[in-house]
Symmetry: D3
Subunit: 235 residues, 6 copies
Amino acid sequence: MRKDRKNSEIREVSIQTDYTKHAQGSVLIAFGETKVLCTAMIEDKVPPFLKGSGEGWITCEYRMLPSSTITRKFRASSKGKIDGRTMEIQRLIGRSLRSVVDLSALGERTIWIDCDVLQADGGTRTTSINGAYIALCHAVNKLIKDGNLKKSPINGQVAAISVGIVDGEALSDLCYEEDSSATVDMNLVMTSKGEFIEIQGTGEERPFTKDELSQLLSVGEDSINDIIKIQKEYI
Amino acid sequence: MRKDRKNSEIREVSIQTDYTKHAQGSVLIAFGETKVLCTAMIEDKVPPFLKGSGEGWITCEYRMLPSSTITRKFRASSKGKIDGRTMEIQRLIGRSLRSVVDLSALGERTIWIDCDVLQADGGTRTTSINGAYIALCHAVNKLIKDGNLKKSPINGQVAAISVGIVDGEALSDLCYEEDSSATVDMNLVMTSKGEFIEIQGTGEERPFTKDELSQLLSVGEDSINDIIKIQKEYI
Amino acid sequence: MRKDRKNSEIREVSIQTDYTKHAQGSVLIAFGETKVLCTAMIEDKVPPFLKGSGEGWITCEYRMLPSSTITRKFRASSKGKIDGRTMEIQRLIGRSLRSVVDLSALGERTIWIDCDVLQADGGTRTTSINGAYIALCHAVNKLIKDGNLKKSPINGQVAAISVGIVDGEALSDLCYEEDSSATVDMNLVMTSKGEFIEIQGTGEERPFTKDELSQLLSVGEDSINDIIKIQKEYI
Amino acid sequence: MRKDRKNSEIREVSIQTDYTKHAQGSVLIAFGETKVLCTAMIEDKVPPFLKGSGEGWITCEYRMLPSSTITRKFRASSKGKIDGRTMEIQRLIGRSLRSVVDLSALGERTIWIDCDVLQADGGTRTTSINGAYIALCHAVNKLIKDGNLKKSPINGQVAAISVGIVDGEALSDLCYEEDSSATVDMNLVMTSKGEFIEIQGTGEERPFTKDELSQLLSVGEDSINDIIKIQKEYI
Amino acid sequence: MRKDRKNSEIREVSIQTDYTKHAQGSVLIAFGETKVLCTAMIEDKVPPFLKGSGEGWITCEYRMLPSSTITRKFRASSKGKIDGRTMEIQRLIGRSLRSVVDLSALGERTIWIDCDVLQADGGTRTTSINGAYIALCHAVNKLIKDGNLKKSPINGQVAAISVGIVDGEALSDLCYEEDSSATVDMNLVMTSKGEFIEIQGTGEERPFTKDELSQLLSVGEDSINDIIKIQKEYI
Amino acid sequence: MRKDRKNSEIREVSIQTDYTKHAQGSVLIAFGETKVLCTAMIEDKVPPFLKGSGEGWITCEYRMLPSSTITRKFRASSKGKIDGRTMEIQRLIGRSLRSVVDLSALGERTIWIDCDVLQADGGTRTTSINGAYIALCHAVNKLIKDGNLKKSPINGQVAAISVGIVDGEALSDLCYEEDSSATVDMNLVMTSKGEFIEIQGTGEERPFTKDELSQLLSVGEDSINDIIKIQKEYI
């Protein structure tokens, strides 16, 4: 049994908006000891494949600062290439945010989402999505306030949680220690309506059964609902 | 309604073993018009993090030949970097195969899996897993036959299928045309016991409901069973 | 003395056209155990240096699949750069094909030639040229059939052969084993009229005499004639 | 005349130690609106050129987060290379810190200094040095506390300040707006004894006279003394 | 005491103009045993950030030939990236030359300065600046002579010298041996009017005092005057 | 008809040995207006594939300085990769020199050959080989003089020449202007005994006949003999 919280309970969440001044949206978000700076910056152009289409784009870069982990993490720029895990995560964050935005309504502009992990203790990708969504809302509000958009192109609320099977139990919002001993590891990205945007599960140590899948979805859904409520206070 | 096959029916499968002579396992596999050359080659050393551990490793590289797609696909080596989609896929294939192998029992050697897509028509990553599993078995048999291993370290059978929601229906083994119009896209990697190794679903166009998830898992499971049977003939 | 064939005799040749469906020309060619997939794909633009010139371009990429050799060959994209040998070969193939094409008559389009070696047993560059020529012809025929070109810009037929001095004798179409023990190594690219497009000879182990040069040209010319005849059946 | 502070006066300084938990030294430092996270992490090995020498090493990486500037700054890892300005700055920080450390007394270990600019408003390199020195002291204290070092190899205190000629006057600690209109730009790195470690001056708009050099050194020295005092409170 | 020359005396200087024929300015310059080929080439376009501005640009590339040093120096192109020292130096040379040129008066063209060190014996960056200034003048003269410019946009003369503290004495124009034992190392770039363009001093072994700074500036100024005179003969 | 020299006549050759002081062999060689600095430097280790074999290695790097051509040539290091032509040339030079050296007799050391083109006017690769051979001899003599080798491992003399068909005539040692209008282009590397080391001919504009090949070999051989004589004076 988990010592300090229920299986479907998330860690203490702290959110600080307007953390830096240059980005249109800037959110320092923490789930327990995991701290991520999520920013949203607006650029008045789009990637080549959208030029002239009238549609906008949302893209994401995710990085861990070298000092965010116990053993110093080498920078992608020093090694000369971005590793596969980083690519997967930033693609996931970008897809998750785009799924709740009407890109035509955004107009021909790009919103750059940057998620820089200041301190890692499990769940950095889901914490990033949760903070990035708030930063995105702030950037869009800024566009509206400045008269550059009439109404918000955001048509849904998105939250994410990591779940896993540890010692035979389905747990939500795993810290690093729990994550290290999980036999099954799953990330869920969902909307405020209880629908799925992404579901990514891996049987790291052993395959998992349909019954385990059900338990994971159940604890995850509870946590998603809690996060959705917290996010609403900062949008 | 699908014209030529049932929703949970897979495309025609063709498998040619020993397709090339240098690799210990070499399988040309086709699901419909999707053709992949899957090879397994044994190297008598392991990556640095395993040196001296007594454990082996299985790693995968996935590529699409430039001529495998309608519009010529630029080579990673000409652009100077591997794109995110390619990285995600080769990491998925590697993880899937490692999950059914006892790496300690494999001994300090690496099995390199190469999946080169000769012709793409949807489902290249799942076709790759299905063929790579056979190639892996052949390479392991070679190790046993040559007296380098006493018994097989493979402790499970793995198969994969792509499923998706097209025009409101859950379909299995999507061809390119179906894949292009799918609102939900999911890849399943499962064992012969009906357990999950990987489940990766994305609501590309819109979020998906719990009910849709159930339907997708259902058609997928049927297809996995069919593939498992076909693979057995070639192992 | 060579066991199984005469000194100027080529290995068994097999050619399969329309091997894949997306490329306008797609040829699987084998010289003995050497198998190369040669494709030609048409793109409706040209490199910057030809923009607005009215001229077209033919360019080539050559790669060996990792499983094509006895010891697995690392991919250029994993090492981050293309090695010198690969560059030399793809430049040679491109030059050879361009030499028999009237690039002005081709119009402002690029024909991409890709030669992917599926299995290597000596002579991969010459086999590539022999197959690529057929693929090129098919792609040009497609342009004519589709009404995009009135007449063929191809004004010659090109074939290639590797020759070498092994145990003091001039041999044609060396397999890997013969190539490894050759003291002189030469590649000839010629036309159906018996003229030279390229001649590249290297005294790997020792310099070679004018007399040896004559012998090499002689066995090579015989083989070129044989290849020219075979190609004609597939154009 | 400067509105809000004297010409030799530094901006408001805020320092937060132990800002993150994994690094042995972790300092969030702000000079006005410029905020830098400076960390020091210990690694028990040295670069190849010091192996077996008994000497240690201190190295630095400096980066600006993409959201730290008004216009989003592209990451070095996305562009594939580190720009010249970044290289210059991280070399300067590394040299500055090494100049007050007895590397033999440090023993064969590396201290990695990372300076990640969260928000930029002028003087990021000097702010980095000021914070990095404190982080370095904390990391060394940790080595001593853990019994890995008997006494500190740090034999001096180092502080840095940017100075410049703006509208004909020598100013200290320039904010971005002042820096943009400076005709002469100089960075000073000095010790608590008033000696120079680095002096780097550039006549960006026009050459500068010996008299102007004297004025710059004078305001700079005053500021250095103030910084030295502030640092002492956190070491 | 220095054996063969006074502390503020420069080494023997030799200058050969029009050393190669393709560059508009081509100067082989030697300070003692340090030999650098400095060329200036005119290109009729500017970097993107100046397009349409009517302004020109001057940029510099600096390299040491592999054989220019005692131990062969690896080429940047073989290692795949330019090292920090090289970047710093070429940025310094570019800045120094731009500071005496009215870029608006140059018009929308780029002057490429290349400084290739044929033989290194200390002071390669200052020798490069001294030779590059002459090459720049020649290229500008060519523009005027060919009727492409009415009058010279060069509005000052620039010279550079390295100075340092060796065995407690301030010396000018250090050769490699002196440079290796210098405790303080400084590069000065000045105009013919005795004003500073760049001052870069580093306390490599120990910090330096204000008094030492004065001595260094004093010997440096004498040498700058000597170099200014020599340059005038070749402009 | 050629204006100033016979068809088989080489341009004026000038050779300056000991041109720089750090390399063991350093030769500035000019064929007409083509000037190349060829150096040979000894390193006391070998590439990984020769470690422990007792054999030595000779490797070559070839580059054109940016100012060596009419239009400034971009550096490989600025573009991030070496182009195919450069790779081909440096591989050719390396192979040519290795073919006349007994690598076992050289012992486990590498001789680095660097050919840096200071000024290009046709025939840079053949001029490089001619100068590099002399530099190699000097480096080997140095090894013998210093007692590091008992006798020379060089067992042949190597020279190179470019030949081509211009206006229907076979010419030797083409300058840039002639090279630009050549329909056939060939490089010959031969020994003092009249044997071939390399023969590389390309029908750039049109295929060439056997008779043309004979003429090219004939003028080339004459020139090779002249170069062999000149080289002997400097070895």
